[in-house]
């Protein structure tokens, strides 16, 4: 079983659109939405939830006001400014370290479980999907990403799927690192803009840092032909396979509005370029092209 994460550095380059399109073309994949902060893949894949699991991030402190003698020890020791002057816990600021519980001389501070979100195992028209909802204003999105991946791997093993397609988050920090650690390949979706290229290079550095092989897809290729050739020569120089270039077309937004994956909606240039990219991806991964 292979794992592939679709990332981009810069947001809005088309990660989710392309993941959904690949899902439509795959016959033996598990889909995992690891952009747990702003998950959108379900809007296209419309999963039917089969199993829901609670997700708990780091613990959170509580203060028993009856026991509290307002000695301020907890306030003074908290490195996160998560306890107010009148000894109230700021839920969002608490990082769950447990120092307040440790320093409290009257056992008024205790650490309790934090309900941080939900994780779902679902079915879609393209196969099984694992996704999650992080409650707004929660921490630990990296931890939730790891949980989603573990569940997706389990499903893939049980149901003998040959690939886990992971829709990754934007950026280069904690959730991205969790989404790419140990995968077989990252597919970087970029666009021919100054920001797109800048962030492409950053995310390649991160993938190199964790020694993960990379491939690139250029989306919205006709926005800036000059920048497009810049990306192509960059990939050539650094020997990163370019899986394909996808044209900019209004059918992409129209498909999204109809809640369809591109190959279900468009029968023209966009779909054919995505078909080519998918074939190239399977080739890079050494997966057979057999479709039932």
């Amino acid at each position: 079983m292979k794992q592939v994460t679709i990332i981009s550095g810069k947001g809005g380059t088309g990660k989710t659109t392309i993941t959904a399109a690949f899902a439509a073309l795959s016959s033996n994949a598990v889909l995992a939405d690891c952009d747990v902060d702003a998950a959108d893949l379900h809007l296209i894949l419309k999963p039917v939830v089969k199993k829901t699991v609670g997700f708990h991030g780091l613990e959170v402190a509580t203060i028993d006001e009856e026991k509290c003698i307002k000695c301020m020890d907890c306030v003074n020791h908290c490195q996160f400014n998560a306890i107010t002057e009148d000894i109230k816990i700021k839920y969002e600021a608490c990082e769950g370290c447990g120092v307040c519980e440790l320093v409290c001389s009257v056992d008024a501070a205790t650490m309790i479980q934090r309900d941080s979100g939900l994780l779902f195992e679902s079915e879609t028209r393209f196969g099984p999907m694992v996704h999650a909802r992080l409650n707004t204003a929660e921490e630990s999105s990296g931890k939730l990403v790891t949980e989603v991946r573990h569940h997706a791997e389990d499903v893939a093993r049980k149901r003998e799927k040959d690939v886990v397609l992971i829709d990754g988050p934007p950026g280069v920090g904690c959730p991205v690192i969790s989404a790419i650690t140990g995968v077989d390949l990252v597919v970087i979706v970029t666009e021919p803009t100054l920001s797109g290229i800048h962030d492409l290079k950053r995310v390649i550095d991160v993938a190199n840092h964790f020694e993960i092989p990379q491939a690139v897809i250029i989306n919205k290729k006709d926005i800036n032909p000059k920048k497009c050739s810049e990306i192509k020569s960059f990939c050539e120089i650094y020997n990163i396979p370019l899986l394909g270039s996808i044209p900019y077309d209004t059918s992409v937004t129209k498909a999204m509005i109809e809640e369809k994956a591109i190959p279900e909606y468009d029968k023209g240039n966009v779909t054919s370029s995505i078909n080519e990219a998918w074939a190239a991806l399977r080739n890079v991964l050494n997966l057979s092209m057999v479709k039932p």
């Binding site: 550095g9 810069k10 947001g11 809005g12 380059t13 989710t16 902060d37 702003a38 959108d40 809007l43 780091l58 613990e59 020791h77 490195q79 996160f80 969002e92 990082e95 769950g96 370290c97 447990g98 120092v99 440790l102 320093v103 992080l134 707004t136 204003a137 929660e138 921490e139 999105s141 990296g142 988050p169 934007p170 950026g171 280069v172 920090g173 904690c174 991205v176 690192i177 666009e191 021919p192 803009t193 100054l194 920001s195 797109g196 800048h198 962030d199 950053r202 550095d205 991160v206 840092h209 964790f210 926005i223 800036n224 920048k227 209004t250 937004t253 999204m256 509005i257 809640e259």
Partner: protein, 278 residues
């Protein structure tokens, strides 16, 4: 006045709004708090005059005093310490600097050292000062870098904070204490879905906010309908135009080329000033 620019979804145009607003405002300070992908200065080309390291404190174990009792590793909620026979392993990248290990250590064997997690850069050009936070590649914790950026706030200028995408801790850190939040979205199902998440966070933090719709005309009307129903002011619609996309792709702020839009941004600023002072 501090205005934060946020969005749930990435790539909706936060940086575009931040940069064009800063130029239209004139006497502005732009804080790039999207430290995972700091892109604002790609459009402003400010020459940075100052650069300093952003560091966090991580434990350093004095092996002479340590008895390998294991209390520190047992306490650490982040698994940043592991005690093996005659050695304490410190996984510095997992440490949140809570100082708990120092408190539980009976031998006073825990000291602290600084560890670099990112860079802070500063510069000024044409009345706009730029502060950029840049998370070191391979580092996971953006928060300390965002905090360092926000320490540079200069209230003598119109402060514009370019926040990261998403809805979790880095966003909250970036927009906290702002006088007003601009949520940038696009008129698509993804844009709408993530706008609702961003609205949720902003309301939860009790910050006044309004919406800017970017690429107006590309999708459908559902974002506008949602804003109407929720009584959220739509402050500006940036049209979906090839010229704008093309200027963006070359790193050119469009207000420098399209005076009508510059005027729109100045009006937007006036409106926010009125809302904040009322």
């Amino acid at each position: 006045m501090k205005i934060a620019i946020a969005s749930g979804k990435g790539g909706t145009g936060k940086t575009t709004v931040a940069v064009n607003l800063a130029i239209s405002a004139g006497n502005a300070q732009l804080l790039d708090a999207d430290v995972e992908e700091p892109n604002a200065n790609l459009f402003l080309h400010t020459k940075f005059s100052e650069e300093k390291k952003v560091t966090v404190s991580v434990p350093e174990i004095n092996e002479k005093q340590c008895t390998y009792c294991g209390k520190c590793s047992k306490f650490c909620a982040y698994n940043a310490l592991a005690v093996v026979p005659n050695k304490v392993l410190v996984f510095a990248d997992l440490c949140h600097s809570c100082k708990g290990c120092e408190l539980v250590c009976p031998e006073d064997a825990v000291g602290w050292r600084n560890r670099e997690v990112g860079m802070l850069r500063r510069g000024e050009q044409n009345g706009i000062s730029v502060v950029e936070g840049d998370l070191n590649l391979g580092e996971s914790q953006a928060i300390p870098v965002i905090k360092a950026v926000k320490q540079e706030i200069n209230l003598e200028k119109t402060v514009i904070i370019d926040a990261p995408p998403g809805t979790s801790c880095p966003v909250m850190e970036a927009i906290e204490d702002s006088d007003f939040v601009i949520l940038v979205t696009e008129p698509t199902p993804f844009g709408l879905h993530d706008l609702k998440l961003a609205v949720d966070v902003t309301r939860r933090m009790k910050l006044p906010f309004g919406v800017v719709i970017n690429r107006y005309g590309v999708g459908d009307k559902r974002v506008e309908l949602y804003c109407q129903q929720e009584e959220i002011p739509v402050l500006l619609k940036i049209p979906h135009e090839t010229r704008i996309a093309s200027l963006y792709s070359d790193g050119e702020p469009f207000v420098n080329h399209m005076p009508a839009l510059k005027q729109n941004f100045q009006e937007l600023l006036t409106r926010i000033k009125q809302e904040v002072s009322s």
